[in-house]
Amino acid sequence: MGELRLMKGNEAIAEGFIRAGVDAYYGYPITPQSEVMEYLMAEKPEERTGMVVLQAESELAAINMVYGAACTGKKIVTSSSSPGISLMQESFSYIAGSEVPAVVLNVVRGGPGLGDIQPAQSDYFQSTKGGGHGDYRQIVLAPSSVQEMYDFVNLAFDLAFKYRIMVLILSDGAIGQMMEKVMLDEQKPRLTNQEIKDRFDSWALTGRTPGREHNIITSLDLDQENLERHNFHLQKKYKEIEENEVILEEVSLEDAEYVFMAYGTSARICHKALQIARKEGIKVGLLRPITLWPFPEKKVKELASKVKGFLSVEMSAGQMIEDIRLAVEGKTKVAHFGRYGGVIHSPEEVVAALKSKIIGG
């Protein structure tokens, strides 16, 4: 039934958007993810499914087109890379505050500033703690293969609509630019306007249906007591997500004495490092968070009392390590190893770091 293709990660996710029945993509070019919009434009999705693809004048405009369209109960998406994502932070905070479902892809590149265009994982804090203002969260999915770029589109929209929340797919330049095999599934039909009314008329802006109250999408509440209540509601929702939606991959953790913790491209490299280390007789496992938020805190806690140490392997100066340490609470060793600014560590370096920082450290 499926269709096997060789695709770039950026192309696979674009095809994923079409097949998931996404209603609109609004975006602005930036390396290393410009292929997303290019692929969509070439595919004429308006002919394939009626999907809208529009190039905005900036990332700010793009995310606000997303915000507007997402208010209507449709499936809406944008994509960008680090600097462009930074520009969207005010709007992410609005989307969180007004509880609108939306999906955003960040194909991370080296920073800070203009940086370079090579793969990096240095937007972890921004993604998981909130780069915008206020107490809010967004679900963060970290694909580590082209297949997952494709697969996570449906996952992301399911979560986005289940919780009326923004879902950020946090990829990087390597996964965006590389080609791998990808198995495509069937086209999902886009919801009709009537189906949207049937499902989301309690909140979505579809035009005030006769007989119902007008729907309002806003993040404003000038009465601080009300705003606090709204925040309590948000926090409750976040707690629920933390309890129910953690996704992770475990590799050789059963007998592990040490744990590599890594996501995305780093996790792939740790996979190889694991093989090398195991060959040398080092019992190391890999815990790959697929949801970065909610973070697999319970699993880490559980492992913390069993293993001799965690190595947080990140293409950054050390960001996810804070979440690991928060879960470990001093119960075992935690160290960071990473290359950054667009450099990717080799599996051998990772093994060496495990030896020096955890086993020998």
């Binding site: 060789l6 290393p32 390597a174 590389m178 080609m179 791998e180 996979h271 080799s346 599996p347």
Partner: protein
Amino acid sequence: MTQEIIIAGFGGQGVLSMGKIMAYSGVMQDMEVSWMPSYGPEMRGGTANVTVILSDERISSPILQIFDTAIILNQQSMDKFESKVKPGGTLIYDSNGITHFPTRKDINIFHIPAAKEAGRMGNIKTFNMIILGGFLKIFPIMKMENVIKGLKKSLPERHHKLVPMNQDAINRGMEIVETVQTL
């Protein structure tokens, strides 16, 4: 089996699509594959390179520092990648435009006079298929039928009529590849 290959040359030599055909051939043979182009402004300088990994196992990083095999198609790439072949690995090059020939003694070196041959065959566009043929001769890791399938997959339908010509070029490459030095 894992083959980690860098193909490097000028833009326009068909570097990226040669990599793509290799990768697609791997897919047809049920291998794991990855294809990773260099991207960004260095493209502006006119160079192009792509890392192709073919393997029986899950592939970790698509970006590598060192390679099993380097296929080198201009001097700049020679300067950059000769040193990046693993000891015991393989370097394949076309001497056209090369001024400093490879000097390493710890790797296998092959020469494919593909540009000249493509010229003689009257179609410069087959250049990259000749190189591919040479590679396949050295590493017969893929069956020809899978290569042809890969070729078809990577060409738009309307170009499928060019398949026989490309197949000829691959065969020609297999014939003309010459050993410069083997370990």
